[in-house]
Symmetry: C2
Subunit: 547 residues, 2 copies
């Protein structure tokens, strides 16, 4: 199948079709002719496209070297004068153009603006002999729903697309710290799928283009996995940072809500505060997560948005104590697919063998109930707003939209019913907090999803991430280095489903070869506001798991 | 007029009347015969009843001395063995019984239980030679809506009265820290008046029994002003700690929401999180506010309630810098009554003359709009729940209930309208935050109310406190030592109203002698989460104002 067929986006009425055609023509025209991949490749792409930037001949060895760096390294080289901001954004920009042709990850490409920004930064550096801030010259890719002044943005529907009049809080802060913007990235219709198919198209997983790059920040994950960016900004209200990072072998953290900026993002349910999302980094190294979260919090985002809590990042020194790690192989509702189980079991064995940590079996508390609560909270209006957004744009409802707003979870509430729902949420949180404390774990290691990257239109069980959103427990994902391998990951013939969700999930793995090459990530969780502990523990756990 | 006539509570149908009679009989029977004031005094009470505990002959000189201490002193004496917990609670308990007969401040009197608790604490102290915690032996009075295990409680209606099965979070923590419980205190119907008239009766202001002791924590304020308690616990969602403390010359702080415990309190709109209340101390010294808030936060209330933010109290050292104080004499909507204006002007002059502080005129930002937003947020269901609570108890609606739920502010919302309302709230908060930062004040000094203690059924303009609830800016009130004096506080013949609320407020002061003897407090505000700065600044400002 050609890429063009694979990346098909949402359909709609005649007016919709015409508008989308014009948007896609705009986006296509933004990709310079000099960076076009051969049509033959696009007609017959390999399953794994991650090495094409290196083999296609469009990037110089220097550009390949630069785009192989993580953000920490990029910043160090720019700050020491070994690399200019212009060289940096040009390299990542070129690679992003290639990544987009293979995965449909972008929604806006404006390398020229990025180069102008970078020139100004280089000028400052030359003149003043110092950097403007901790992110001086770092190209950062931005999810479509985070406005960048003068650029395209949307809230997951054609009907709320805009040319943004101003930066949102996050991009305002990043810009002030020295970041350079050059691309915006795809997200799904509604921004509420764990995949990324929108009016712009469907984003593919670069490790296996028959799989999803995840969602809702799935443009970011595909782009960063292709090294068309070394630092992406996503948001996560149900798994939208951790899911896509897990699907594509990246690092990503969902910080505790109300710590990182979400102000000014495009959202079709403004004022809906029953459950919230937070913004965070999607990147290629553990240290880059700290770098980004630390820099943003040091910039005091609560001075822009008084809804934020003034809690700077504090990563504890855990080198002198034995970390207590709860291991949750599954959540008592859905058994993850064999590659994920293999990774979890390996990780558990490695941790148990390590003198650095104490391992206990973590017992989940009614995750099915919790998942039901957050699913109900997502659309307290019975998804009337979503239907209106679709109607206004003449946009057809995608299958995963239909699924995510399906009864019995999604229903309309009057305000008293909404209070009752929120009280139920608070009761669950309280019971969970008691339960968590009784188990006495510093962190929990668990799957980030019920499998590896999903096949298209199948990512329906989000509870491995969404339960922590409901609880507002921060979580980070990291790659194990393992990949799905049909030779190792076979169907369990003795499988007995724990329930219908489990049965459905199992059915998706009937053909293990469908998942070949998918990276396997794991997730580290701690209780609310212990973001620093998540980061510290993730480092230790990754080192042990990979030892 | 006899006290019995003055303290008349809410009326209702026959069943209601019978139930209330039985509750009042229970409460009356709880007051020991040995502590009864003479009927002649209750038939013809003086306007100011604060000295009656000293003159009535029912308390020993030792008991009068103990009840004259603040909490810090009480604790120091108990911890050093100079005073026993039993002596302490007995003294405060006896004085509370007297206070109740004069002001109708109590809803439950259980000195016997308090004495038992105190005996156990004294036993521990004798045995172990140390205290159980930082509040060892301190008698603390508790607002009716905060459950104390085994005692009466209510959520402001006869229909939600209960014998509490368990402590709420606040009383659980206080008990663990060593506090002793012996009384619960009155609050208004709905817990949403700035006065305190409920099915138990109407609480009177001890400095002028024709005036209100404020609300909704008005049982606490009357009791603490009578020295029947040296530490009371109230809650404040619109002014319910600061208002009553201001009306009765006490110290009180409304901490930033989600820092102090509210879990397990009785509330008829559970899950309504559009605007919140926080709990805090009502007491007779500045240092006691720090003591209580510090002790509660040190006990990590967020481990009980995961909705709380882990922010321990941090009072900054401001001795080495010049505090920048914004002075807001009025809010551009309602001009405070002459006693309050006199106090504000005196305070401003003293502050301007001090080298320790820099004084600027603080400009309010659309407080009328903000007050409208929070009034609308209070009852997003158009007060249907209130009507149900009244109906279920056969309880008549009091005039201030009718007022507080009146249109145009109170209206029913569907969930999308509720989101819109919350978005409006967030926009206001954001605009205000920018405005606040532009003025660059550490704190603002302003009136806590549009006058001193109110005449009954007239406290309708809460914006001097409620605006800070909407913004979640912490605030403390303190006594200036001034009192309303008809010789000094005369009607301004040249008054021109700024609007209808101003006109109404002015009309209430037509007879200045009505307010004779009412204490005048002022309020110190800082931006969200700067609770420690409020406390530090309040100390400095009070010292200068009283110099």
């Amino acid at each position: 199948m050609s890429l063009k067929a694979k990346i098909q986006g949402a359909t709609g009425n005649a007016e919709y079709t015409q508008k989308v055609a014009s948007l896609l023509a705009r986006l296509d025209a933004q990709i310079p002719a000099s960076l076009r991949l051969p049509e033959s490749l696009l007609e017959n792409p390999p399953l794994n496209v991650t090495s094409i930037p290196e083999t296609c001949g469009l990037l110089t060895p220097e550009e390949l070297a630069v785009t192989g760096l993580d953000a920490t390294d990029v910043l160090a080289r720019i700050a020491s004068g070994q690399l200019t901001a212009v060289e940096t954004v040009a390299a990542f920009g070129k690679r992003a153009a290639i990544a987009h042709q293979l995965t449909a990850c972008l929604t806006d490409f404006f390398l020229d603006e990025g180069v102008e920004q970078a020139k100004a930064l280089d000028g400052y550096f030359k003149r003043e002999g110092k950097v403007v801030g901790p992110l001086h010259g770092l190209p950062i890719s931005i999810k479509d729903s985070f406005p960048v002044k003068g650029r395209w943005g949307s809230g997951g529907f054609l009907s709320n697309i805009e040319l943004s009049a101003d930066d949102c809080d996050m991009t305002k802060i990043l810009r002030k710290l020295g970041a350079v913007f050059y691309v915006k990235t795809n997200q799904p219709q509604t921004i509420m799928h764990l995949e990324s198919q929108s009016f712009y198209g469907r984003t593919l997983n670069p490790y296996n283009i028959n799989l999803s790059s995840g969602g809702s920040s799935g443009g970011e994950s595909a782009l960063v996995a292709m090294k068309g960016s070394c630092m992406g900004i996503g948001s996560d209200g149900g798994g939208s940072i951790r899911g896509p990072c897990a699907f594509t072998g990246l690092y990503g953290i969902r910080p505790s809500c109300k710590t990182t900026p979400m102000g000014g993002t495009i959202w079709y349910q403004p004022g809906h505060d029953g459950t919230l999302a937070s913004s965070g980094p999607m990147c290629s190294s553990s240290r880059d997560m700290r770098l980004l979260v630390g820099a943003v919090l040091d910039a005091k985002p609560w001075l822009l948005d008084p809804g934020l809590i003034p809690l700077p990042l504090s990563v504890p020194d855990i080198s002198q104590r034995k970390l207590r790690v709860g291991v949750m192989i599954h959540d008592d509702v859905v058994l993850p697919h064999p590659p994920m189980l293999r990774a979890m079991k390996l990780a558990k064995a490695k941790l148990e063998a390590s003198p650095e940590v104490e391992v206990v079996d973590y017992v989940p508390l009614n995750h099915e109930e919790g998942y039901g609560i957050i699913r109900t909270l997502f659309f307290e209006d019975g998804a009337e707003t979503i239907r209106r957004c679709l109607k206004e744009g003449g946009e057809d409802m995608l299958p995963l939209t239909e699924w995510v707003i399906s009864p019995p979870h999604t229903k309309n509430h009057d305000v008293v019913q909404a209070w009752e729902l929120r009280a139920k949420r608070d009761d669950y949180r309280r019971a969970y907090s008691d339960h968590w404390q009784k188990q006495g774990c510093d962190v929990v290691l668990c799957p980030p999803f019920s499998g590896t990257a999903s096949r298209h239109d199948t990512a329906k069980y989000w509870a491995y991430t969404a339960i922590w959103n409901l609880l507002d427990y921060p979580g980070a994902v990291f790659p194990t280095g393992l990949i799905a391998d049909p030779a190792l990951d076979t169907v369990d013939a003795n499988f007995t489903p724990m329930g219908p969700d489990d049965d459905y999930n199992h059915s998706l793995f009937a053909a293990p070869e469908a998942y070949v090459g998918a990276p396997v990530n794991l997730q580290v969780i701690s209780s609310r506001f212990n973001d620093g502990l998540v980061l510290a523990a993730q480092d230790v756990i990754e080192r042990i798991v990979k030892s």
